[in-house]
Structure formats: C-alpha cells, structure tokens
Amino acid sequence: MQKQRIYLDNGASTQLDRQVLQVMLPFWTETYGNSSSHHSFGRQAEQALEEARTTVAKLLGAAASEEIVFTGCGSESDNLAVRGAMWAARAHGKGNHLITSCIEHSAVGQTAVSLHTHHGFDLTILPVDHSGQVRPADLEAAIRPDTVLVSIMAANNEIGTLQPIDELGAIAHAYGALFHTDAVQAVAVQRWQLAQQPIDLLSVAPHKFYGPKGMGMLYVRQGVELQPELTGGSHENGLRAGTVNVPFAVGAAKALELAMADLPETVAHYQRLRDRLIEGVLTAVPDNAILTGHPTHRLPHNASFAFRHLSGNDLLMHLDMAGIAASSGSACKSGDPKPSAVLEALGLGREWTKGGLRLTVGRHNTMDEIEQVVATLPRLVAKLQKIHVMFA
C-alpha cells in the first residue's frame, strides 16, 4: 500500500513547474543549435538564451543583461564568485583578504577555507548571534584595507535566518571591498533591485524555485573583475567556458518569472503553512523543542527546529517511513552524523546540535498536509525521547 507522501524538503529541491518544462522542451529537439554557432540554428538558440538572460536581469533589477552569467549549479556560481574575485585581485596585486561567515553553505565555506589553506589568502570567518545573523559591527571590526571580498549568504539554508545584506554590503563598499551573497535560498521569495543594492555578486540556483537542476546563475555587477574557473571558449563574457545549456537557461528564466509573478501570494501561502508548523510543533513539544534561527527575520518557507537529545538522522528515518520528507543539518546517509555546525554557531549545546530538523514548505503543500505533520511529528519525537531515556 502506497502511503500518501508529504514533501517538506523544498529547500533541498522543488518539483519542476510544468510551464517551465513546456518552455524548455523545444530546445532539445527543435531549436538545438549551439548558441555560439554562426548559422541560423545557432542564432535561434542565441536569441532564446539572450532573452532568458534579459528576463533574469530585469526580474533581479540588474542594470544590464550581461550581468547575468549562466553556470552549472549554485555551487559553481559560489565558486566562480569567491575564487574568481580573489584570484582576479591577486592577479592585479589588489589585496589578499577574504571575509565570510561561519554559517555559509559549504560551497562558499569550503571554498574560502581552500583559498586560505592551499593558496595563502587571508581569511576571516565572522561569528553569528543566537538568531544566526552576522552583526554588522563584527564586519566593521574585521574589514581591512586589503579586504577583497565579503561573502555573506542572503538566507541560511538550514535555519532560514535572513542576513542584513544591504547593511553588510554597504559596509563592504565603504571599505572598497566587493560584496557577494549566496542567495540560493532567498532569491525567489523576495524582490531585488540589484542595480541599487550594495551587491556585486549574487548566486542563484533555479531548482530551488521550480526550475531545472544542473543550472546556476551568477549576477556579476558590471566592472567587477573575476577570473574564470572554467577556461576555454569565450562563452558567458569569458567567465565560463563551455557550450551554454540553452534549454535550462530558458527554463531558469521562466521559473524566476513565475516566482516573481505570484510573489505576494506565494509568500503569504508559505508563511501561513510555516507559522502553523512552528506553532503546532512548539505547542506539542513544549520542553524538548526549540525554533532555530531568527523568530521573524527568516525565510517564509523555512521552519527549523532542534529537538533535545534526539538524533536528527533518526528522526528523518522515522518521518520518511511516515511518508514525510524533511532534512537535517546533521543528517548523513552513512550514519555518521556530526553535530550541525550551524546549530553550534548559534551557541546551542551538545544536547541540541545533533537534533536539528528542517521543514521547508512549497507551492504544492496544503494546510491539510501541515496538520498531518503537526499530528505525526510530536508523536515520533515523544517515542524517540523514550528510546533516548532508555538507552542514553
């Protein structure tokens, strides 16, 4: 018997929108030319690609369509931004210092550590407060004349906390540094006016908002110099060699367009479901659960919790068997879960840091589903707490 399944892991990936699929389809079998080719097939593809680029640029409030670079995924966008900016600065003798935060996605965090460990760049990793926000004063204190880049995510993938990126970006600019933000989680749940915002580089992954996987985008403000990671042809303004994935670029633009068209309704829907989840879980598990991340300044679709003395890994298994798909910052398929580094950064003790759970709602979720989760999750938590008491 196939149980009804409830997908609450939209922060990991989303269902491709059928309208997105429709606009992508012709670009495999009909308009299949290489967008770099000098013939009508190529020109058709190039036209579609540039239309997609323009659409994205407009939706993000960029000054020019050339500011949008198509990449292979969000992680690649982060790598291109961080490595690209640091290497370009080194090439021009322009400074050696990189600032990031302790709760970045590993695509930024590990890249920064690699630049520091293997390539001799100076690295400052900023702490966060109990809500997961970087304090602007900490950035002010850390920034130096040779700081090249400040990279702070727009919203944390695990706990959903939104960062004061306009404030942080303004500080970076005041000191002559570039500002990059990994907006993979946040881009499709708020409006952007990138031309007016103190943001030089912004990473996007369309599969987080009903677009295709295998596609990423990076906003690169005009005049910002990056060294390419992938060298070869002069595709994407010389920033990313390789035949451009035209169908996915078209799909990415369509996905962003759909997201922005319904933004207020979508966000209201997310918030309604999210708030019921938070209220329902915290009410049913009053002593052994906390909401992690900022209570209000958080992604509208993210409800993240920590459960005392529980293994998020175990909880995911039990939820999965109950038909509920969720995720955990310390989850690991190899059964070797580490405490969540993000939860540790919030100052939570050992009794909490393995017990993280992230529920991320999406367009397709209904209040009925949320009520089922609110009924099921506390019951599982209570049973697992009992096992913990027996076997601690």
Partner: protein
C-alpha cells in the same frame, strides 16, 4: 543489514514472502585508522554500507543507517575492556545482542511500526502452545543460538531469523538465485570494532590495567615466571608461557586480584561445576527443579551433558557429568535440549578441587549511562 550474505539473503527472503521490509544498518563505534593505515574493521565500512545499500536498492526497500557509535563505545567496547581488566574473557556479541541489537534496535523498529526485527542469524524461532522457542539453526555448524540465549518471550515475539532454516551453502545459493551482489563475500570474523583484529594490541592501547605484567604462579602460589598481561592468555593454553617445569603446565585460572596467571597440570583443566550469572530462561521462568541439558561453554564448543540447577538472583549452577576443559569466566554458558535453546548466562566462576566455587569479582550488567 551488514552488507554481508546472511542479512542480505534474510532481507530478500522476507521481500519474497511479501513482507514490507525496511533495511537498517547500525553504525557502530570502531577504532580509528592507525596512522597511515585505514581502519580494517569489518563492519560499517563505506564498502559494507555501499553493499547493503545496493542490496536494498535491488530489493526495492528503504535503507537507513542508525548512528549507535557513542552508545556502542560506552557499553560494548567499554564492557570488553572492563571485563578483561577483571581477568574475564567477554563475548561482546552476546552483550551487543543484549544491550543494543534486540533492545535499542528493536525499539527503533517498533517505533517505525514494524512488527518484527529480522536479522541474519542462524537460529530459529518456533511458536508453541506454551510460548516461543529459540531453536538452533538448521546448519548446526553455523548455529548462532549461543549468542541469542538472552532473548525473552517479549523479544522473540518480534524477532525473525529468515536464514535459520537454511545451511550456509544454501544461503549462498539463495544469494545467487536472488542475484545479490554479495553472494561470494567472505565470512566476517573476530571483533567488529578492532582496527586490525589484534585484541592484544587494542587492550594495551585502551587499558592501563588490563595489560599489566604480573607473576605466573602454580596453584600453591609458587612463583614460576612472568606474564605480559592476563588478557593475552587463554584458559588451557600451554605454549608461550615461558616457564620451565618437569611436567607440562597449562593456564588454569586468572587471579585478577593478584594479577597472577595460575598454571597447573592438565588434569586441573578439567572442571565439573560452574556458576552462571545473568541467566535467562527462554520460557520466561526458571525450571522448578534441576534439569538435564547439553551446555555449551563457548560459541564453537560442543554441548556437554550436565545438570543445571537454577538459583535465585538469575543464577544457576552447572554440574557436568564429565570434566570439561577450558571453562572461561566471561564467556556464555548456554543450555540446550537437543536443538532447543533453553537459555543461558555468563560464566561467573568455576569449581576448584576443594569444592569451593572461586569467586571472581562481578560487575553489574546494567545499562551504563554514557
């Protein structure tokens, strides 16, 4: 599921019978790799995990890995060290079954609304009018009921051993028939948490006390030589003692209080009585009278005819009809009536020639708090 043949076939058999099967692996603690050498632990390695996951995918069942590292370290591994420090020779598989597999893992399974916990053990559970019986596996050479003697009626009601009705060869044949990628895998062996299968090195590294050199004495306390640490000798050992004597001398006892290795002539190895602690009777209650049973004093031992007398406090005395050799405190003593496992416990001590049971210090077998 360990990624081995037995648990893989167990899962496949259940799927074939129409059960809704959930694959689970326990990630246990194992020694970190030593220096450049990666850990060679047989269980929970990435390879084993990949094998188990592949089998689960092929069977179309979910597969999860449970993190039991800390709990396993604090209970089973620490127990292994503590017992050796007390001069006993523990069987960690028995303790793992008692404290983790059929308790912790079973509880997890029941929370998943599972009806049964199935494992790849070679044993059988039979339902009778008077309750559940634990029986030997059909393959008596592979029978594992010895390490399952602690199962209670409540546990047996929720346990399945699907490969128990087959021989090992048949199980390998089934693995091939099911097309499982693990059909020709090697037997696992020894203690799963050791980095290199060398428990002597492990004890030297993880315990100050277990590996203390001391004296080798005869039964009158006469000094005969030095030993390198009690755990490194087995009851009945003759070679490698480094002592000279007119007659062959064998290890007959470990005196942990004096850290002395006691040796004696061969006839002193044969013992007729032993006391068992932490006794579980499969039927749920001890027999009202002494019973006759075949008693196994280690996993691979043949059953020896004996009279088993239940005592209060989950103890029992076993009197063998003939002297048996190599009785080792810390090992299980498990009682059988032909293929039926009646129960068993842990060997606490055994009788020396003066008829007194030699006490060994016992540590309570309660669950430890980490």
């Amino acid at each position: 599921m360990s990624g081995g043949v037995d648990s893989s076939v167990a899962a496949a058999l259940l799927v074939e019978k129409g059960y809704e099967v959930i694959g689970m692996m326990m990630r246990l603690w194992s020694e970190p790799g030593m220096g450049e050498q990666p850990a060679l632990n047989r269980c929970c390695t990435p390879d084993q995990m990949a094998d188990a996951r592949r089998v689960a995918n092929q069977l179309g069942i979910p597969f999860y890995v449970l993190d039991v590292k800390d709990y396993f370290r604090h209970t089973i591994v620490q127990f292994f060290i503590d017992e050796h420090e007390q001069g006993r020779t523990p069987n960690p598989c028995i303790e793992c079954n008692r404290q983790i597999r059929f308790t912790y893992l079973l509880q997890q399974a029941l929370v998943l609304d599972a009806d049964f916990l199935a494992t790849g053990h070679y044993a059988q559970v039979a339902q009778t009018a008077t309750g559940y019986q634990l029986r030997q596996g059909v393959d008596t050479a592979k029978d594992q009921s010895y390490v399952l003697h602690m199962l209670t009626q409540q546990q047996l009601a929720h346990v399945l051993f699907p490969v128990g009705e087959y021989t090992k060869d048949e199980v390998r044949g089934l693995a091939r028939r099911f097309g499982l990628p693990v059909a020709s895998k090697q037997e696992s062996q020894d203690l799963c948490f050791l980095g290199d299968n060398d428990y002597r090195r492990f004890l030297r590294e993880y315990s100050q006390r277990a590996a203390q050199p001391g004296e080798i004495v005869d039964e009158n306390g006469r000094f005969l030589g030095h030993h390198t640490g009690l755990p490194f000798y087995t009851i009945g050992q003759r070679k490698g003692l480094g002592i000279s004597s007119t007659e062959p001398l064998y290890v007959v006892a470990k005196d942990s209080e004096r850290n002395a290795l006691v040796v004696g002539p061969r006839e002193r190895l044969g013992q007729q009585r032993l006391r068992v602690r932490d006794v579980n009777w499969i039927v749920g209650i001890p027999p009202a009278e002494p019973i006759h049973a075949a008693v196994k004093i280690r996993y691979k031992a043949a059953g020896a005819a004996a009279t088993v007398t239940p005592l209060p406090n989950q103890e029992a005395v076993v009197e063998f009809w003939e002297p048996v050799f190599g009785i080792t405190p810390g090992q299980g003593a498990v009682f059988f009536d032909r293929a039926i496992c009646l129960g068993g416990g842990i060997i606490a001590d055994y009788e020396q020639d003066d008829g007194e049971l030699q006490p060994t210090t016992t540590i309570p077998l309660t669950l430890r708090v980490s």
